[in-house]
Amino acid sequence: MDAGLFTSMLFATVVAGTPLIIVALGLLVNEKAGVLNLGAEGMMAMGAVAAFAVTHESGNPWLGVAAGMGAGMAMALLFGVLTLTLMANQVASGLALAIFGVGLAAFVGKPYEAVALQVVPPIRIPFIADLPLIGEALYNQQALVYFSWALFWGLLWFLHRSRAGLVLRAVGEAPSSAHAIGYPVIRIRYLAVLFGGAMAGVGGAFLSVFYTPMWAEGMVAGRGWIALALVVFATWRPLRVMIGAYLFGGVMITQLFIQGSGLQIDFPSQLLSSLPYWATIVVLVAISRNAGTIRLNSPVSLGKPYRPDA
């Protein structure tokens, strides 16, 4: 493979992995608090459409990202009210959010189909972007790519060095104990759910404003679900989320490059396109085989409703 191809594939892999990182890290915080929100796909879709619409109307992609974040949080708030205040089943509510979000996004986004946005230019980091092979791929990127890295480092610090992170882990492990020693479990869980929604919204915004950039019904294409799978795959550890997201990005990009390469291989494009989904399944199987690892690492109260008795 020649150097130019390597650089462009690496560049594309990083871009493809970025929304997954942002969304999955948000979900990781969400799940560390013991709340399972399966609605990521819906929150991403809403984030994507809101960001696209606002960017289109205002011409400012950053307003768009803010709108995407807001839309994701609004969806997450809905989920929070149902599961945390009204104690509805988390699985059912998450599924509902996924279906509803995709549907609502399709409805809201109808007028924006077949509209194009200006491509947002990447931000070039001086000097290191001149490094051979990787410089152009890693350091001449969209701002949100750098954001995803900052998010990763920030989260590492938050979870393992900060008191708030300690409280979050405690709430996810044993909410009744956390309540008994005086932590506001429900409020902390709301914050975690909102953070998950915000990141899902930003991830969606990245797709529609920076990545494609356009809006089409179904454009999230399962990335919300893949992000959920990534968190399991990563056994709730941020570093593994990063690695996993880039692996998935790599799979997506590889199949696109094969399709676009003009290599006359006799393999139908549709079946190639299903590769990332198969890859998700394979990885899930590989990581889930050892039930002990999952049990040791998953937040103990994940998915279980909790209500303090007043």
Binding site: L38, I99, S274, I281, L284
Partner: protein
Amino acid sequence: MLELEARAEPSRLMSFLSPLLAVVLMIAGGMLVFAALGKDPVEGFRIFFLNPVKDLYGLSELLLKATPLMLCAIGLAIGFRANVWNIGAEGQFMLGAVAATGVALHFDGSESALLLPAMIVAGALGGAAWAAIPALLRTRFNANEILVSLMLVYVANLFVSWLVFGPWKDPDGFNFPQTKMFGEAALMPVVLENTRLHLGFPIAIAVLVAGYAFMNRSYAGFRMRVAGEAPDAARYAGFSAHRMIWVGLLLGGAAAGLAGMGEVAGPMGQLTDKVGSGYGFAAIIVAFVGRLNAFGILLASLLMALLYIGGEQAQQYLNLPSSISMVFQGMLLFFLLGADVFINYRLRLRHRAAQGH
């Protein structure tokens, strides 16, 4: 300040009322949406909810739409009862359609009366086979069935698309992504004159009845209910968790596959890349709104079908995107999930504690 207080016992009245409350709230919410979009809410209500059922043909269309919904939903409900979260009915639906189409195309031109039964069997088997993948991966490798079954929806969609763009494309179809039309012997007979309502509807009703008997009367159904309510109790009683996963997923897959078969051999008459029209996902809502029981699913599927047709009417007469029906469906489920809290809790005014008199 208002607060929720646990009831001593779940309220039977509320478990009956909360779906009705959810419907009322959905309609109210829907009228607000119409108003917000600058449409007359009353006119919107009429077009959305009343227009579709104003004559016999409208009713038959409603039943036609409800057929795949109730089939998919009753299959899902069996699994959901046991906490087997198959959310890939959409994919199983498509694979059922593919398998039935395979039979129809292979025996193209056959007049045999056995062709249709063979397609029905193929449809059910196709759906079940697709659902067997998450079942196998869950029982052998502990892989989460939610994510696996969902991923397989995307795979199924791409697979159908490959078939109708590739090997199964109708050579005389002007390059449209679709197979050739099925022969007469491969189509579901119409059961009501001058409508499109076909044999699939009575089959779906029969499946509902069978589903009821299974869930509420059989020992196997009892075991699944126990597993869903209290997994440790199921283990204590010696009910095999693996068997429940298999039964839940295979029955769900077979029912969804049957529904897919009913679509290609019914109103569509061929396989196209649009075969997956969201019934499999909508059925999740139907199953929950129907409270995972057969009679509830019957009513919920009719309601959801009404929302679908209402959406089409809104597109036609109100110039709104038909995806508005998805908004209504989502609202319905959210309102239900919210209203259900009152089964186990009641609202009461919280007064300041600790004043002794």
